[in-house]
Amino acid sequence: MTSTLENESKEANTLKNGQPRPVKVELFSSERRRPPKKAGMEQHFGPTDPKIDALKLPVIGKPLTKLFKSRPFQFMMILPNQAIFWIVIIGGIIGGSYAMPAGENNFGTVITWFIWFCLIFIMIVGVGRAWCMMCPFGGFAEWVQRHTFWKRTIKPITANWKWPEKMAKFGILPAVGTFIFLTWIEEFFNIAGPGYPIFTSLMVLGIVATALTVMLLFERRTFCRYLCPLTGLIGSAGATGMVAGFRTRDRDKCLACQTKDCMRGSEKGYGCPWFEWPGSASSNLMCGLCTECMKNCPEDNVGLFLQPPLTSVIKPDRRRTDVGIAVVALLGLVVFQQFNALSPYQSLDNWLNSHTGFQFGAYGYPNPIDYLGIIALAALVPLLLTGIITLLVAKKTTTQVTETKDSGPRVVPSSGGVALLEAPVAQSTTKTVKTSQFKTWFVALAYGIIPLMASDYLARQLPKFLSNSPRIIAAISDPFDKGWNLFGTAKLHIANQHILLGNGVVVVQMVVVGIGLLASLYATNKIVKNELVQVSKNALATRAITLLYVLALGVAVGGLYYPMHAAF
C-alpha cells in the first residue's frame, strides 16, 4: 500500500519535483530541495527593482565597494556623531549656566536643536535611512551588544529575545508611539525650546539608555526596527529618498543560495540586523545601510542601489498598513507642533490644565489631553477625507472568500497492523463577500502624502536653523560653557548673526511645504493612475478629487506657517 504521506512521485528514484534522484550522495543536494516559487515575482519586483548600482558605477564604484567591505566602515561613520553626542551629554550636565538665556550658546543645545534636528530631515528626504547608518544611539548600543567596535564577534551580550508576534503585527506603530511620547517629553520640559541644556543631555542619555537596554534584551537591532522614536519617521518619510538600499543584483542567485549568509551571518559579517533580505527588498523602508549583507554575500551579489526620488512612495507593490497609519499620525503630530505656536492653543491648554489639575510648578504644557487630542484630530482629517473619497469614487467590489475546514486525520490500519494517519481531507466552501475598499485607498493615498508630511517636518525645524545655526561657530570653542576659547571663535560676531529671520523664514517654510506639496501631488497622481483608477468608478473624477484633497491638505499645513510667524 502506498502511504498518503508520500510525495507526488510514486517511484523511489524520482524526487518530489520530478527530477531523477541524484546518484551522488551529497549532504546538501540542491536537487532534493523544492524549487523556489517564482509566480508573481516579475510583477512584484519589476516596478521597484532599481537600475543604478552605485557599486558598479565608473570611477566611484570600486572605491565604494572597498570602503563598504571594510569592517571599520560603519564605525568610522558613527564615531563623529558618537563623539558629538557624548559632548552634548557631558556638556549639558557640567555646563550650561542657568543665569544666561537658557541654552542659547550651549554646544549641546545648538548642535542638537539648531542643526541636527534640521539636517536630519534633509538626509531623510534626500537619502532615506542615512541617519540610521551613522546613528550614535543604536550604534553605541550595538557596540555594547557585540562587545566590539567593528569586529565580527560570536556571542552577543543579549538575552536574544524575539520581538513578540503580538507587537510585530503593528509594525512601526509602536515606534510612532514612542516618538509621540518623546515629543511630549520634549515639549513638557521645553527641551528643544531651547530650554536648559541639561534637559537635552538627559533626553539624549535617555535615548541611549533605552537603546542599550532593548539591545541587551532583544536580538539584533530590534530597537532600531520596532521601537526607536525616529524609525517610524525615517522609514516613512524616507520613502522619498534616492537610496534604495542594499539589494540583490540577481534575484535568481539569491533564491538558489544554500547559505543565506546575508540573513544568518558568516565569518565575514553579522546577519542582517534589520531583519531584511536583499533578495526581496522592494522599498527602502527598513534597510539601515549597515553594509553587513554585502560583506557576507559569498557570491558578491549585493549592490547599493539608487532610485529616482519618490520611488518608494509611488511604486511599492506591497503597501504597508502600518506605514499608512504612521504617516497620518506623524502628520497629526507635526500639525500639533504648528498649532501649539498659535494663541488659541495657549488658552486651550491653560483651560485644560486648570480643569484637570495638570500643573506642576512652572510645568504643565502641554496637557496630554490636548496633545493627544489635537494629534488625533489632525490625523483624523486625512482619514475622514480618504473615507469620503472612497465613498464617492471607489468601485464597489466583491471578493471570493474560501473557508477551509478539515475533517481531522483519519486512522488507516496497514496490513502490518501498524496504524497510519492519513492527511485530513480539506473541505472548502467559497462565498462572495463585499469588500471594503477603504483600506486600499487609505493606505495608497497615505503614501501619497509622505512628501508633504516630510516637508512639513523640515519646515517646522527651519526657524531654529535659519535664525540660530551660526551659533555653532562660537559653541564649538566652548563646548562645556567654561569660558574656553578652543578655536578662537567664542566671541566672534558672526556667531550672533542670523541667516534669516521673521518673514523671510515664513517664506522659506512655505516654499519648502510647497515643494513637498508639489511632490505629493505628483506622487498621488501616479499612485492613482497605477493603482486606484482600476478600482474607481470614474478615472477623471478620482484624479480630480484626490489631487484636490492633497492640495487642500498642503495649503492648510503650509498656510499655518503664516500665523505662526516663524515661531520656534
Partner: protein, 569 residues
C-alpha cells in the same frame, strides 16, 4: 473524532489545546522576508508564496507538524502549533529468553516482515533537506534507502548504503541512533518519535546480505597501503582502497579481526558472522592480512613507510582505564576485555556452561561495555550488580541497553561508586560502595557524606572505558585530540539552514557538528604519507565514526597519491 497518535502525548508537545487535532501554521507577515528557506524545505509542500506581499503562505490542512519551517526560518517568522501527524513507530520485536544461561540468540530482532518495514518507511517524510543524513556520522543517504524499501528494491537499497558504509549490518545493531540518525530525524527535532532508521537499515541487511567488495575504479592502481589495526576504521579504509584498485596489507595484533567488535561486543548483540564478513570479503578481493603482529613490537612505522606508498594507522583505543583503587590487584579483579574474551569463548561453545554459577559479580561502570559484561556474566550464571558514579539521567549509555540489562536481571545502580575492593587471603571478598551526587551533565559526580556500605562479591570487573595506549610507537604525537567543538567560529550555514542546530528538544545537532570535525581531521595526514583514523585519532568513540573516518582517510589518501590520468570504470 479520531485520535491523533503520537508518542509524547495525546496532542503532541506543542499543541495549544486538547481540542487541536491538527497542526496549524502561523506566519508573522511583518517578519517574513520571503527568502523561501521554509518553502524549499517543506516535505509535504504545505508552503507557498503570496505573490503580492512576497511572504510565505501556509496551507495548514496539508501540514504534518514536523516544524522544519520553524527551525530553518532565519527571522523566526513562522510558527507551528499542534500535533505531529504521524503514527507510532513499529514494534521492537525483542526476544525474551526463557532461561538465560548460555543463550546467545540476538535480543533485538528488528523488523520481521515487509509490512512492518514498509509501515515504518512510510513514517519517513523524505525531507528535501534531510537532517538524518547530517546526524549519521557516515552521512548515509538515509531517505534514499528508505525510499528503496518502500519500492521493495533491495538492490537499490544496498547500492545506496554501499556508497558510505561497508558495515551496515553491524551499524544497524550497535549504533546509538538516539544521538545520531534517529536523534536528528525531523520528528525527533520536533519532540516526537523518530523514524526507526536503525531498524530499517537492519531490515535491508537481514533481507539481503551485503555484497562482496568489487573493484570499481583504478584511481588507486599501483598504490600500496599498510593498515595497522583491523577494527572498523581499518577495515573501512581497506574497503575504500580495494574498491579503487589499491594493494592493501592489514596488520592486526590480535588473532581475530574486528577490533572492539570482535572482543568487546557479545554475539547476542552482534553475531559473529557479521563481524567476520568484511575481512572475508576483503581477503577474497586480494587483501593480505597479517595477524599476531603488534605495532612497536613486531612492526615499526618507519619500516612501513619505506615498504608501502602510504600507511593508515587505525589501531584504536584498547587500553582499559584502570582506577588506582585499593585492592585492584586482588585475584578476582579483571578488566572488561579479558572477561569478555573469556565469556565469548565459553558462550561460543555448543553447550555453554554456567561457569560463574552463584557468583556475585560487581561491574564497575555502566557504559555500553559494562552492560555487555554484565549481560554476559548473567548468561554464565552470575548474580550481577553494575555500579556507575553518574546520575542515571546524565549517563551516556544507550537507555535501551540498560533496560535490556535490567530485564535480564542485572541490577544497575547509578549514583554509586566503589571506594575500595576488600579481599581475604589475596582474593576479592567485597567492595565498599559510596553514594555520589551530580548536579549537571557537565559536572563530575561528587561523593556524599554518607558512610560506605560493604557489598560482598566474588568477582570485580573493571569496565570504566578505554584509552589509547600510551607506550612507544602506538602513541602518536599530539593524538588523540577529540574535538570538543566544531571547527571554525560559526557553523556552516547549510547546517544552520537544515534546522538541526535549532531544536528546543535536543542538542543532537551540536554533537553531529562536532563529529564533522573528526571526519575533517581524518582526511589530513598526520605526517608525510601517514594517515590516522578511528579511536586512535579522536579517542574512544563509536564504530560508525571509526568506519567513516577510515573511509575519509582512505579517500584523502587516494586523492593525494593517485595519478591524474586514472579514470573510473
Amino acid at each position: 473524532m479520531t485520535q491523533v497518535l503520537d508518542s509524547k502525548s495525546k496532542n503532541g508537545p506543542l499543541s495549544n489545546s486538547l481540542d487541536s487535532a491538527h497542526p496549524s501554521v502561523r506566519i508573522i507577515k511583518e517578519k517574513c522576508a520571503g527568502c523561501q528557506e521554509c518553502v524549499t524545505r517543506c516535505p509535504v509542500g504545505a508552503l507557498d508564496m503570496d505573490p503580492h506581499k512576497w511572504v510565505a503562505l501556509a496551507d495548514s490542512s496539508i501540514c504534518v507538524g514536523c516544524r522544519q519551517c520553524e527551525r530553518t526560518c532565519p527571522y523566526g517568522a513562522i510558527h507551528v502549533a499542534g500535533p505531529m501527524i504521524v503514527g507510532p513507530s513499529g514494534p521492537l520485536n525483542l526476544y525474551h529468553p526463557k532461561g538465560l544461561i548460555g543463550d546467545v540468540t540476538e535480543i533485538r530482532q528488528g523488523f520481521t516482515s515487509w509490512d512492518e518495514a514498509i509501515a515504518e518507511a512510510n513514517r519517513c517524510l523524505d525531507c528535501p533537506d534531510p537532517t538524518c543524513m547530517l546526524g549519521c556520522p557516515a552521512h548515509n543517504a538515509i531517505p534514499d534507502f528508505i525510499a528503496a524499501i518502500r519500492a521493495k528494491d533491495l538492490n537499490a537499497a544496498h547500492a545506496v548504503l554501499e556508497k558510505t558504509s561497508m558495515w551496515p549490518d553491524a551499524c544497524s545493531r550497535v549504533c546509538d541512533w538516539k544521538t545520531q540518525c534517529e536523534g536528528s530525524c525531523t520528528w525527533s527535532l520536533a519532540g516526537g518519535e523518530p523514524v526507526a532508521i536503525g531498524r530499517l537499515e537492519r531490515f535491508i541487511t537481514d533481507q539481503m546480505a551485503v555484497k562482496d567488495i568489487e573493484v570499481t575504479s583504478d584511481a588507486a592502481k599501483g598504490i600500496t597501503v599498510a593498515i595497522v589495526g583491523a577494527g572498523p576504521a581499518g577495515l573501512s579504509a581497506a574497503t575504500q582502497l580495494v574498491k579503487a584498485g589499491a594493494a592493501v596489507t592489514i596488520y592486526e595484533r590480535d588473532r581475530n579481526t574486528g577490533g572492539v567488535m570482535s572482543w568487546g561486543i557479545p554475539s547476542y548483540v552482534l553475531p559473529d558472522q557479521i563481524v567476520d564478513r568484511p575481512i572475508e570479503s576483503l581477503i577474497k578481493a586480494g587483501v593480505t592480512l597479517k595477524t599476531g603482529v603488534a605495532l612497536g613490537r613486531d612492526i615499526h612505522i618507519e619500516d612501513l613507510k619505506k615498504q608501502y606508498s602510504a600507511v593508515i594507522l587505525t589501531h584504536g583505543a584498547s587500553t582499559p582505564i584502570k582506577l588506582p583503587l585499593p585492592g585492584v590487584d586482588l585475584a578476582g579483579v579483571e578488566d572488561a576485555t579479558y572477561f569478555l574474551t573469556n565469556a565469548k569463548s565459553e558462550l561460543a561453545k555448543e553447550k555453554p556452561e554456567a561457569i560463574y554459577d552463584g557468583a556475585n559479580v560487581v561491574v564497575l561502570g555502566a557504559g555500553n561495555t559494562a552492560m555487555d559484561v554484565a549481560r554476559s556474566a548473567r548468561r554464565l550464571g552470575a548474580k550481577v550488580i553494575a555500579i556507575d558514579w553518574m546520575k542515571e539521567e546524565f549517563a551516556k549509555v544507550r537507555p535501551d541497553e540498560i533496560q535490556e540489562a535490567r530485564d535480564e536481571g542485572v541490577k544497575v545502580n547509578f549514583g554509586n561508586t566503589v571506594e575500595s575492593i576488600v579481599g581475604q587471603n589475596g582474593v576479592v571478598a567485597g567492595v565498599v560502595i559510596r553514594t555520589t551526587t551530580q548536579k549537571s551533565a557537565s559536572q563530575l559526580p561528587r561523593l556524599t557524606k554518607e558512610p560506605g556500605t560493604t557489598h560482598h562479591c566474588d568477582k570485580v570487573i573493571l569496565a570504566m572505558g578505554y584509552r589509547v595506549e600510551d607506550l612507544g610507537e602506538a602513541k602518536l604525537p599530539k593524538l588523540p585530540h577529540p574535538p570538543q567543538k566544531p571547527k571554525g567560529p560559526i557553523p556552516d550555514r547549510r547546517w544552520i539552514g537544515s534546522g538541526i542546530l535549532n531544536s528546543p528538544y535536543t542538542k543532537v545537532g551540536n554533537l553531529a557538528l562536532a563529529r564533522e570535525s573528526m571526519l575533517e581531521d581524518a582526511r589530513l595526514p598526520i605526517s608525510d604519507g601517514i594517515w590516522a583514523a578511528g579511536d586512535v585519532l579522536v579517542g574512544p568513540s563509536t564504530v560508525v565514526s571509526a568506519m567513516a573516518q577510515g573511509r575519509e582517510a582512505a579517500r584523502a589518501l587516494i586523492e593525494a597519491l593517485s595519478s591524474p590520468k586514472s579514470k573510473k570504470k
